[in-house]
Amino acid sequence: MKWLESLRERLAVLFHKKEFESEMAEELQFHIEQETQRNIDRGMHPSEARREALHSFGQVEKVKEEVRDETGVRPLEDCVQDIRYGVRTLRRNLGFTVAAVITLALGIGANTAIFTVVNSVLLRPLPYRDADRLAMVWGHMASTDVTKAPWSGLDYLDFKDRSRTFEDFAGTFAVNSTLSGDFEPEPIQLGWATPSFFDLLGVDPLIGRTLKESDFQNIDPEVFFDPEVEVPPSVAILSQELWGRRFGSDPSIIGRTVQVNGQPMEIIGVLPAGFKLYLPADASFPGVIDVWSVVPANLSEGTRDQQWLTIVGKLKPGVTAAQAQSEMDGIAEQFRAENQFHENVGMEIDVVPMQSDVVGHAKPVLLALLGAVGFVLLIACANVANLLLVRGQVRQREMAIRAALGGGRGRILRQMLTESAILAVLGGGAGLLLAFFGIDLLLAMRPENQPRVDDVGIDGTVLAFVAGVSLLAAFLFGTLPALQSSRPNLNESLRERGGGFGLGHHRMRNALVVAEVALSLVLLVGAGLMVRTFAELSKVKPGFDPENVLTLNVALPFFKYGFEQSTDFHLRLSERIKALPGVEAVGAVTPLPLAGGGQFWFGPYALNEASDEEWSKNEVDYRPSLPGLFEAMGTRLLAGRELEEADNRADAAPVVVVDEKLAEEAWPGKDAVGEQIMVMRPNQGEFQRYWATVVGVVEHTRYDDIRQDGRGLIYFPHKDWGWAEQNYVIRAGVDPAGLAGPIRSLIRELDPDIPASRVRPMAEYVGDALASTRFALILFTVFAGTALFLSALGLYGVISYSVRQRTREIGVRMAFGAERQRIVRLVLGQGLLLTGIGVGVGLVGAVLLTRVISSLLFGVTPTDPITYATITVILAAVALLACYVPAERATRVDPLVALRAE
């Protein structure tokens, strides 16, 4: 236990210093006295004896120091002493300390805020068991380039059967539904799931249980659509939020029965708070599911083109996604060989690890922001380094004295680094505080569809990050000044001796400022490009006019309304809404543009009798609609007529309206009105092909992504897709928000069981589409602004200092008759020279680095000359301003005073 002994020794010394010292003194004293006595015994005179004893002992103080050195606690003691000295020094120069801490706080705080978001969104694993083994299995239809497509029940069964790389699969589908019981019916999101779903994700219920195999019943789908027949009961699992909201978190809820879409369901469990299925935004899966139930249909029935199941798979332990992908490629080949539909659409299978799927879109933005904010930190460190360098010069005298007293270079270096460390700790702490507020701000501004932003918070990883960044910062800004301070001779050479207004010997400081300017330029260019992107995006004509338009969703329970009743209901409701005062036009469409879900409403078309193979080759977007849609949405009619009420009569001739994109594609150069087109519609559980006449052509609308044109569109009269929910589009003379109430009453009058949901002004959807760009834009601008501000400060500092140093020279020049203008120009010249070099380096950097954000840009290239030119001018102007003040001050030098002072 050697080390234990030695540890005890060391601790003893540390904590009982006084005792240690007095004992040591006593021991040495004893030695000297004994030696003296010995000398006396040998015959020396007492005073000589003592002198001799002391002489052969050596210097007592030195011996004491050496003993102290051997205690092994010296480093710690020195450290404590360094810290105390450092704190004292910093307190004495409060102005400097405050400036440095604030600068650091800005840099570290901004980095922490962004990192917190990055950590929560990108780094943290998904809240499922073995989340790294979860992967999404998406369909990819090569013929039409539709990705993230769901599967049919048969496909799901094939996956389970054939895959060797996956342990299990689960499928899910979301349905707008109505929850009723002994309370007011409310609209909910119902999630159908295969029995394996919750086990696959590894989710344990809060109370009760989740699904098991025996919950699955084979229900004939016909039963749902026949209002006469009673639907057999199923099971339901509630979300924790619904349980609290609707049932007051009553634990006796288990076993109670409620109605979902008229089907009785026994509540078997409640899920933990915050449970959700994390899917990418463009998968159109609702963020919140209120009730989960087992899939009601027999999965082996139906056809391959009935794609409705979103499938999650759990890889076997040790299997990589790449291995699973190759296996799935093989299965996809089998699909294409076995099933006509799969061959027609060129079906492929995409295996995507769940985590990267969810955050995929957010990744480039967040990483770009992380890079940008890193630049801000570098600039902040450069500023603090500059401050320290200046202070280092001021402290030359102190350093010289210390060196004279025997403080080795190493000791001084350590002292300086300790001061830097203290600054870094203070800056880090202040930065953490700033980050708290910064994060709240970030969350307030966040776009709606950012993944996983609901649980962003400061956790252990973030704290570790702050500590790490603070240390890094200390190293960055502290090393150079510390090295310089510990070499007093170097300081001498830093004194400006005569010379002109060149860059002088302040090479280090100048280099730092140039670096700051360069970094700022890069950030400013990035911000400028984002501004342009946002401007371009805002100019995009999406094919409709969202001003003064209200939208709301009306979904009719399919167990109550057949096709005909549904069409009838909608037409009557439309009429009534139109009659409301203030309403100019009413229509409806499924789905709404820019609201998501668009890529699921698609179907084939053909211009002549197509064989089965060719039938699925051309895919366009299908849009069931109600008459009045185009007028309400502000989509221009280019030829022919709109769809009318008469088209919805059971005996009406089949008609459609196409958009200009499809018209151009199908009948280039010709008038599409009057042409025949083969489309499909559901008819008694199957898809029926039929001929329809094109009666009108409208302008194209962007449904999925405001940045891209998208596919052509075919608008159907509602009766052909009778079970579709409809999103009403109401255009009013003034702000239509006030119409929400009256419309709800109208709906209730027609059928009290039907709720109106998702009541939103259309402009909000457009806003959401721009939201993520706006978010990136705001942040980039804030960072670039901060960087510019800090750099201006840095430049101001360097030029000011330079002017102060050259006071004598200025005095000489003025004494020799130099005009004030010339002095100003000289100083400005120096400043602009530094700025110029910085801009040059920055431009090169910007060209190289903006490539990184090219995926975020729209309508502007990463090397857009206008942006670059504008930013350069802005930067130059700010730099000029920063230099102007010290230049001005230079002219106020009194030559006589300057010449005398030296």
Binding site: M1, K2, W3, E5, S6, E9, R10, E23, M24, E26, E27, L28, F30, H31, Q34, E35, R38, S56, F57, G58, Q59, V60, K62, V63, E66, V67, D69, E70, T71, G72
Partner: protein
């Protein structure tokens, strides 16, 4: 250069102290006298340098210190070897013997050859 010399000296001094204490526990001055006496003043280093060495040996756990009363009723800090210290001493002695035998052979050989 000076560093290397004092290192060597350090190691030797450590060994001398341990050897001295192997015979009986002793206070610092006593050790100093004994070393001077036995080495016939060959090692006439600064007496004070004994004390950092003692501290070092204590830190390494090879000796232990205890305040006791001398024959003349004075208080003094007595040192004694620990078990680890004894072991260390034996190891060092073996190393020393091996080293000096080797040096001997080299010198003899050189002498014989030259």
């Amino acid at each position: 250069m000076a560093e290397a010399k004092s290192d060597l000296l350090q190691g030797t001094l450590d060994m001398l102290v341990l050897k001295t204490l192997a015979l009986e526990p002793m206070h610092g001055w006593g050790i100093s006298v004994r070393i001077r006496h036995i080495s016939e003043n060959v090692f006439d280093i600064n007496q004070g340098s004994l004390y950092p060495a003692l501290q070092r040996l204590r830190r390494k756990g090879w000796i232990k210190a205890e305040w006791q009363v001398t024959e003349n009723n004075r208080r003094a800090r007595y040192y004694r070897l620990t078990a680890a210290g004894r072991k260390r001493l034996n190891e060092e002695l073996k190393n020393w013997e091996r080293a000096s035998a080797a040096v001997n052979r080299i010198l003899r050989a050189a002498h014989a050859g030259g």
